[in-house]
């Protein structure tokens, strides 16, 4: 059976630095943090928490009034990111769109339309309303983003949504790779989106005692993955989409190829809901390398999961040390969550996009605010403070979820044959 190579031909982003992936990447290279103090509405929280907010995003301007009025913020991020990626890939847009029965959507979200549902609860339980909008069902469902993306782009193949906490969109991208590789789809819009900055969600994460603190200027550097003084994670909102196509099809139509999505590995720790395990992560790392046909010697960069928690960071570095052995010291590692926060179900897609741009530009964005590496996190080449120009042949993007689910994506640099 023909095994198609998978080209990344379009990138779409809704993030705190705006919707331009290249310009956002530049800000990351400079080590600029998007984290700031935040109080959600309705304001149940008494003090601000550090968070990453997509202030510049306007749903009506991006999607039109009708779609904006019947979608949760998570879906709005997703649809907008997907439309941007489609346009970036140089694909035709129109209304109604051209039907593509072999076009698919693979989307990831951890929480789906939780914001719409939570606000409805608030109206009923706090304000005494006795009814909710009839649109709440279609706003709250986890597959709303995928459905709207398929409708907007005329994609008539499978439209799936994976919800695997913080690995959701990495797994969506992995499943998309398989659809293209095995000839089941000729184009896939894959990615993820999340809008978790609701009062209820922030209270719940705060109750788990994993949120970093810091007000005013201190908020900017609140997330310090791998640092000896790290103090927890920072939640963020956003979304990213990648357009994937078989290499030969992309080359035939003269598309710009950013990178190759070369491999995908997934595993489960089968151990604990919230205590990661190196052996489980190693299985996913090795599976991704094997799937891509990559030797450890060819791998130059890992965009890590690196949330900034005491529990997670050393386990992740331990897994990398064991998989890469003596080469680990030469593998560049960074966590862009130090600047973008943790976008939960969207984080895999956003970091995949960053990894693709790292390969395309031969630049590695840093782990910001990393001045003193925790001894338990040593043994790899930490890129700290500001980004570096590095020759990169292949890179990994890791996502490790509550529930013990691990997903690793492997990307190869695109070398033009023309």
């Amino acid at each position: 059976m023909t095994r198609h190579r998978v080209a990344v031909t379009g990138l779409g982003l809704i993030g705190p630095f705006g919707a331009d992936p290249g310009a956002s990447f530049d800000r990351l290279m400079a080590g600029e943090s998007a984290i700031r103090p935040y109080i959600p509405e309705p304001s149940i929280l008494k003090t601000p928490v550090p968070a990453v907010v997509c202030d510049q995003f306007g749903a009506e301007a991006a999607l039109g009034r009708t779609t904006a009025g019947m979608t949760d913020r998570y879906a709005q991020f997703g649809i907008a990111a997907a439309l941007n990626a489609w346009q970036d890939a140089g694909l035709p847009t129109g209304s109604p769109p051209q039907e593509r029965v072999r076009g698919s959507v693979c989307w990831g979200t951890g929480l789906g339309g939780t914001r719409a549902v939570e606000l409805a609860y608030f109206d009923v339980l706090q304000k005494g309303r006795t009814r909710t909008s009839p649109l709440l069902i279609v706003m709250g469902m986890h597959n709303a983003a995928a459905a709207h993306i398929a409708m907007r782009l005329g994609l008539g193949g499978a439209a799936t949504t994976t919800s695997v906490a913080c690995a959701s969109s990495a797994i969506a991208l992995g499943e998309a790779l398989r659809l293209i590789r095995h000839g089941e789809a000729e184009i896939v819009v894959a990615g993820g989106s999340e809008a978790p900055l609701t009062a209820g969600m922030l209270l719940a994460w705060d109750a788990m005692r994993v949120l970093a603190r810091g007000d005013g200027d201190a908020a900017r550097s609140a997330c310090r993955p791998f640092s000896a003084d790290r103090a927890g994670l920072v939640l963020g909102e956003g979304g990213a989409a990648l357009v994937l196509e078989p290499y030969e099809r992309a080359e035939q139509r003269g598309a710009r190829i950013y990178a190759e999505l070369a491999g995908y590995g997934a595993s489960c720790d089968h151990h604990h809901l919230a205590q990661p395990l190196a052996t489980g992560q190693m299985r996913a790392l090795r599976a991704a390398l094997d799937d891509a046909g990559l030797a450890t010697e060819e791998l130059d960069y890992v965009n890590s999961h690196g949330t900034g928690t005491v529990e997670g960071d050393p386990v992740e570095i331990d897994a990398l040390r064991q998989v890469f052995g003596a080469r680990a010291e030469a593998v560049a590692v960074s966590s862009t969550k130090s600047m973008l926060g943790h976008m939960l179900g969207a984080t895999g897609a956003v970091e995949a996009l960053i990894t693709v741009l790292a390969l395309a530009r031969q630049q590695v964005p840093p782990t910001a605010h990393l001045r003193h590496v925790d001894p338990a996190c040593e043994g790899v080449r930490h890129v700290a403070g500001i980004g570096q120009d590095l020759a990169l042949r292949a890179a990994l993007s890791s996502s490790f979820a509550f529930g013990g689910s691990n997903a690793v994506l492997a990307f190869r640099r695109h070398v033009s044959t023309h």
Partner: protein
């Protein structure tokens, strides 16, 4: 048709126009009594949301029905049969 019924019709039509412009960017000039709902862009989801908003604005409840209205006039008739004159305009 009585004057009060005519006034009520106009109020409901105005509510409809306001809602459809605000929620779905539908030009108020297209929202005429004879217009078919699907022709002006009111699909099943927008219709059910519209009926919900009208129920809230007019403080009435539409009973379960066998068939849904297909024209603006049918929709207005449905609500005017349930509501009292002088309902507030949102």
């Amino acid at each position: 048709m009585s004057l009060s019924r005519l006034t009520q019709d106009m109020q409901t039509l105005e509510l409809l126009r306001q809602y459809l412009q605000k929620k779905a960017s539908i030009d108020p000039a297209r929202v005429t009594p004879e217009a078919r709902l699907e022709d002006i862009g009111v699909d099943s989801l927008i219709l059910i949301d519209l009926m919900f908003e009208l129920e809230e604005s007019l403080n009435v409840r539409v009973p379960d029905m066998d068939s849904r209205p297909t024209t603006v006039a049918e929709l207005i008739d449905l609500f005017d049969a349930l509501s009292v004159p002088q309902a507030k305009i949102a």
